[in-house]
Amino acid sequence: MQNVSPATLLVLVPLLPLAGAVLTLLLGRRLKSQAHLPAIAGIAAAAAVAVVLLLGTATQVGRPDGVHAEPVRPVEMISTLWQWATVEAAYAPPAGSAAAIPGTAVGGGTAGAARAFTIPVALRLDPLTATLLTIITCIGLVVAVYSIGYMHHDPGYPRFFAVFSLFVFSMSMLVAASNFLIVYVFWEAVGACSYLLIGFWFTKPEAARAAKKAFLVNRVGDFGLAIATFLLWMTYGTLDFHDTLSADGTILPGILGQTRLADPGGIVGGAIGTAICLCLLLAACGKSAQLPLHVWLPDAMEGPTPASALIHAATMVTAGIYLVARSAPLFMACPDALTAVSIVGATTALVAALIATVQNDLKRVLAYSTISQLGYMFASLGTGTLLGFTAAIFHLVTHAFFKALLFLGAGSVMHSMGNVIDMRRFGGLRRIMPVTAATFLVGAVALAGVAPFSGFFSKDEILASLHAKGWPDAHGEHHDAAPSSHAKRGRSSFSPVHFAPGATTAGEKELRPLFNTPETFRVLFWMALVTAGLTAFYTFRAVFMTFTGPTRVPDEAGHHAHESPPVMAVPLMILAVPSAVAGWWLFSTQWLSHFLSATPSFTAPSVAATAAPHAFHMDLAIQGSLAAAIGIVIAAIGHLGRRSDGPQMERFLGPLQTLFANRFYIDQLYAGLIVRPLEGLAVVAALFDRYVIDGLVNSVAHLPLALGGLVRRLQGGLLQRYALAGVMGVLTIVLALAWRLRG
């Protein structure tokens, strides 16, 4: 390892899956049933490299000291591969302001000078990237192995693995890119891979429609990212995350570079900053399926289950979380945008959980659960504290494990039940599929947040981060941090990073944030707590309906309703281990939160100032566990040991059940407001095309036809006419000659 530089290793992580994808594409037809080999080899090698990088980065960060006495040193490594584009003097700062680009004064002497527009293809390695790379490649590997069994006999076998591998490449690049434009490129690339996998069975109309829907809804979010990128360029004059050294030796500060982060006035707040952050939030809402752009994810379940597990549960949908976490310093300067993240997240969490309670399709339950859990992560990010950011990533990690496990378990059930996924049509499967049942149960308790399993700890941290914002006095850690961050702030136009009672009494005439108040976070906390109970309910409702009660198997399953083969069962068991213990280990050692706090974005003073000593809040743990217990008990009363096609719990809900089952009528709303008018417009456009455009083109073709019609009458077929024409012709020539020779 000594003679291989980390930069080389970092490039290998995306490169190996790309090579696997290309090889699978080229050789897929020849390899036939062995088409998974290049893809799995590539992803496995990438996973090994990613783990090496993670351990290497962890060594650099060092061990947690336990008391957070001194700020953590930022750890990052940039590897610029090549310059993609360079436009000289593309950015000229507005006249009259030397320091038009914030942070330039600190960064070097180029203030006021025109800047080149450069797009370096640069990869970065920092704790956040290393964590996500490891998750993407490791879970990708497990899911790919599972797919060998699941996709067996599918005619599109090579295509699946090619796109799968391509997705791992794109996602690795997305989290490793160090430039907003490159992020945008791979943001689109993962969307394209998602489209290809949702529509994998493209001859099925529902799948084709779902793929189209996912793509179109994501376009709305992508639009937000594009606008955010434009605004960032106009505001900062660069799109790089990192600082770059210019030719004359001065440092050009990147948007999230250490130079700018060290400068108290480096990040633009106010209206423009809020606009940037809200556009980023829109992008995150699209990719991470948050309200109001969540509608594509439940439909995305039309894709193969392994793709749902990796892309639509574990990795791609967390791209929004990554984007917001990466842009944490930008959000910290805009408290209202930050609170908007929390509000969107908590609302989504609650709404999706309510919808999940009445779904009868096992994969749909998990899809809404994913939306709900992503909402949790957003709620946590929006608190704007170091605890909130690390808790969101913590939950991302544990969620990736247990949700991938649950999806693969659902896929195993589906595989065995002859592609039937409606929970009312089967039951008592624990006798038929003991391994799937046991591992699914592990995933379920982790998702429900039952005590020693991983979901409990990450959810507890999220609740703690919300609680700390809602009841700052009870925690008390912000009192000393807030005024010091105020003192460091150089620009008076900046809003306070977070609201703290002690801060605004200092007599400063600062813009008070509209929503960033403890009251807001108290509401959000209670929403999150209710969601925790609902999560436990719908998860165990699914478990009880599927695995308990009298054993029933749908007709489609035929005689081969059996436990899945080892190639599918072993990945389930592998994923069950981290689902069970990862949370406890990462929480008790505080390894992940300490590791992540060395991410440059989280070492920004505005974020680092919110660091709180690690504590286990027994009261919150009890509240969370109580909510989970209530949910499980209600699910047990309604479904444990009963026939899954019998009377359902939701008959007690009355009209609410209709509301939930129709998904709050959001799809119908979109259909009425957007889809139908657009379809009408499309019909008008089609008619215009057919009759006006085509009419013009056809009239060009009709012109020679009409001219031909004029002379066509000469071709009468009558001999005398031809003779007359000949005579006239001769006569004309004779007369012409006579005229010429007349004298």
Binding site: R712, R713, Q715, G716, G717, Q720, L724, V727
Partner: protein, 153 residues
């Protein structure tokens, strides 16, 4: 050449040219107005002969036999042409029983209607009645009676 002879020569030329022009004009009018294929063919020959007369006249006027040589050629070619054309005409008649040029409009544009100046006489569906002569001499051996009474030429 003395003036009298010259005047007579010129007069002869004029007369010959007038005759040639009349022949040509008659032929032209005939070919444009008649519908009987054989008559049209004769008219074409008439035009040809009109030209031939002119050629002979000019030949004599100039004392140059080239024109007369050309006429001999024309006659030869006209004879060949007449042989070929008559075969076509006869075959056409054998197929349809008609010699009317207006009946042969098959080369017109598909969208155009048949030109009818005078309505075509209804095609006589019954085979034409040929004069029946009593057999002269002895029947050839092996030939039955019917083959001698075929309907068409």
């Amino acid at each position: 050449m003395n003036p009298l002879l010259a005047a007579a020569s010129t007069a002869l030329l004029h007369n010959a040219l007038i005759v040639g022009a009349m022949l040509f004009a008659l032929g032209l009018v005939g070919i444009l107005t008649r519908r009987n294929l054989i008559v049209m063919f004769l008219c074409a020959e008439l035009m040809l002969q009109g030209i031939s007369v002119s050629l002979v006249a000019w030949s004599r006027h100039h004392g140059d036999f080239g024109g007369q040589v050309l006429v001999i050629f024309v006659l030869t070619v006209a004879a060949c042409e007449a042989a070929v054309a008559l075969v076509f005409v006869l075959q056409a008649f054998a197929r349809t029983g008609r010699l009317d040029a207006a009946a042969w409009q098959g080369l017109r544009e598909a969208t155009l209607a048949r030109t009818v100046d005078h309505a075509l006489p209804a095609s006589d569906a019954s085979p034409p009645q040929w004069p029946r002569l009593s057999t002269a001499g002895v029947l050839p051996p092996g030939a039955d009676h019917d083959s001698l009474e075929r309907e068409h030429v």
